[in-house]
Amino acid sequence: MKIGKILIVVFFVMMLGNPLLAQISPGELAEVHAHLEGISNCTKCHHLGEKVLNENCLACHTEIKSRVDQQKGYHASSEVRGKECFSCHNDHHGRKFEIIRFDKDKFDHKLAGFELLGAHAKKTCKDCHKPEFITDQKIKDKKFTYLGLNTACLTCHEDYHQNTLSKKCDDCHNNDLFKPAPKFDHKKAKFQLLGKHQTVDCLKCHKIGTKNEKKYQEFGGVKFDNCVNCHKDVHLNKFGQDCKQCHSEESFHTIKGISNFDHDKTDFKLEEKHKTVACKSCHKTNLTDPLKFAKCTDCHKDYHNKQFEKQGISPDCSECHSQKGFVGSSFTIEKHNTGTFKLEGAHIATPCFECHKKQEKWSFREIGIRCNDCHEDIHKDKIDPKYYPEADCKKCHDVETWKKVSFDHSKTKFELLGAHQKQSCKACHFPKDSAGKEQQRFSGIATSCITCHNDKHFKQFEANGTTDCKRCHQFNNWKIPTFDHNKTRFVLDGNHKNVACNKCHKEKQIEQTTFVQYKFKDFKCETCHR
């Protein structure tokens, strides 16, 4: 009995002395399970008689159970299926025991439902398994967990595209590099890259923009229904917005559908002759290369070879020419009259080429303003230069007509009087020769009447070898109204006064010349009377 009492005392002293009184736990629980310490909690994990059952673990770890039930995640994988939880997640090994520990380098992440490829394989677990990437608040609140991540890229990665593109990142990107997006095929995009577009740097169209105060490259929402969405409309909308009517993707400078091109929409409207000109005549390089067109000479050669240049500047062709052609000119007489040579009289009706195209080429400068610069001096050597010094036609002619001559004939030895004044110059100065051709004759003309006139009297009145008509005739009237027969050697008296002239002065023909006989060999009666 004595020993028995001592035994009981010793037993309880030892029990009291043990800080883990009534503690049947084989060791401290890990920190995450620390709240389960205590004898009353044993059966929360341990099933009496059956060790620790998975169902006990999953009763608390519902998030794992949920995934296992859904056949998702590592715990639903073939590597874990059928295993007991405690075979990996043991406990009672002290507070600091890592209840979740595995060889991170050898862990086959594929079993977790997300194979680590490319850049992902280079990351550490904590790069991804962190609260920021977990959406479920319950899981997020855990000190550390491998749960709660989603395989969707954007749950970890920032949406660089700022919600402007699909959330299926792997349609374009792979696991190696975010940039470039090797899986992206522009052929699958609504905008096909053709021609030059295939070599254009992405940034040219997909510019760096800012959204939510963050820079990003615009891929979604890039307008492409019209070329001008990206390209500057150098035509300033003159040709409308459908660039493809003329341009192709091959090159901006390669023009297609030129037949449809309406040049009138350009700043240079094609009119008249320009309409028939081949494009290449003006657009010698590319059709799209800018051309000067403000002045005609921007395209046309100055045919006149700077003849109109003033102070180094040639006037535009359009001052004289129209687009109907270079033949013909809109240079008016009024304009001509502002020059040194006014067009007057007959010159007005004179075609330009008469003066300006004496040679093969047109000439507008220094062609002279003197008459004989253009006109032939037909009087040269015919008229004494003293009557038209320096061959100045205007001394006699004016610009109205050649025929009208205003020459003071009194300056010559032969003043024109009477009927002579009424005669044309030609009558005396351009007598016709035997062939009927006019022969100019100004000099060497005698002043005697018979120089010009025929002696109709057949030398009846010749005296001393000459016939002076003026003895009977006057310049004013050839007929002799005041002829006093009584002053002749045969005075008319008696019945002779009433006798008609032609009764005595009858026509006579000698050598085929008919003339009135005024002179008689005598005045005998029988000369006339029978």
Binding site: I3, I6, L7, V10, F11, M14, M15, N18, L20, A22, Q23, I24, S25, P26, G27, E28, C42, H46, H47, L48, G49, E50, K51, V52, N90, H93, G94, K96, F97, E98, R101
Partner: protein, 273 residues
Amino acid sequence: MTKSVHIIYITIMVLIVILSFSAIVYFGNSYYATSLEERFFHENHRILEPKGMWGHGLGIFGSLFMIVGVTSYMARKRYRFLSRLGLLKHWLEFHIFLCTLGPALILFHTAFKFGGLVAVSFWSMVAVFLSGIIGRFIYIQIPRTIEGRELSLNEVRDMKSDIGAIIKSSYNLDEESYNKIVESTTNASNRTGSLGEVKKVLKKNKLSKEQYNNVLKLVRNEISLNRRIDRLVIMQNMFKYWHVAHLPFALVMLIIMVIHIGVTVTFGFRWIF
């Protein structure tokens, strides 16, 4: 059991203990040296953990060895029908063997985790083990019969031979030498270095080597016996108190061990069964 058989018997038991201990240390050194938090991840954890194939086995066999060692020795001492089965001394040696091997195995079964209720059992075991060593020391100090029964003070005194008469009759020693030898044995408990003086005396008498050794042995036994007689009462008292410590700790150990086994079985750990 002849002396040589006894030596083999002892040697085998010692070897078993040493080899078992060494083998476990060799095999489990790496695991046991690993910190508690890291052990789970050790390659040998599944084998050497307390509930592992080996670890659990060590516990079961360690416990069985101790239970057998204790109960058999207690039964040998208490039950009359076993009193003639072998020498008590050999039973004690077997008890010591099993109760040394058992705690050694238990030590490794714990994997050096000494927490919880079962720690009480463990430390009780340690106490029993240490007290056993002390007890063994006390035990030797008490002269016993060849069966191991304790001798009373009178029986011990009767055991004493007359060393003076033996030496005087068998060996030719001078009177002075004889007196010195007898004196050294009678005062042995009070003096140190008396055996050295005996050796000097014997050398002076120029005894043969055999004679020299025989005399020396006689003197040693005489001195030992004299000392035992001197300490016998003290030792007998100490031994009474020792039992108070040794046995209760063993019982505490066993009770908690039973609880421990009950708990483990309850929680589903059944080793190979």
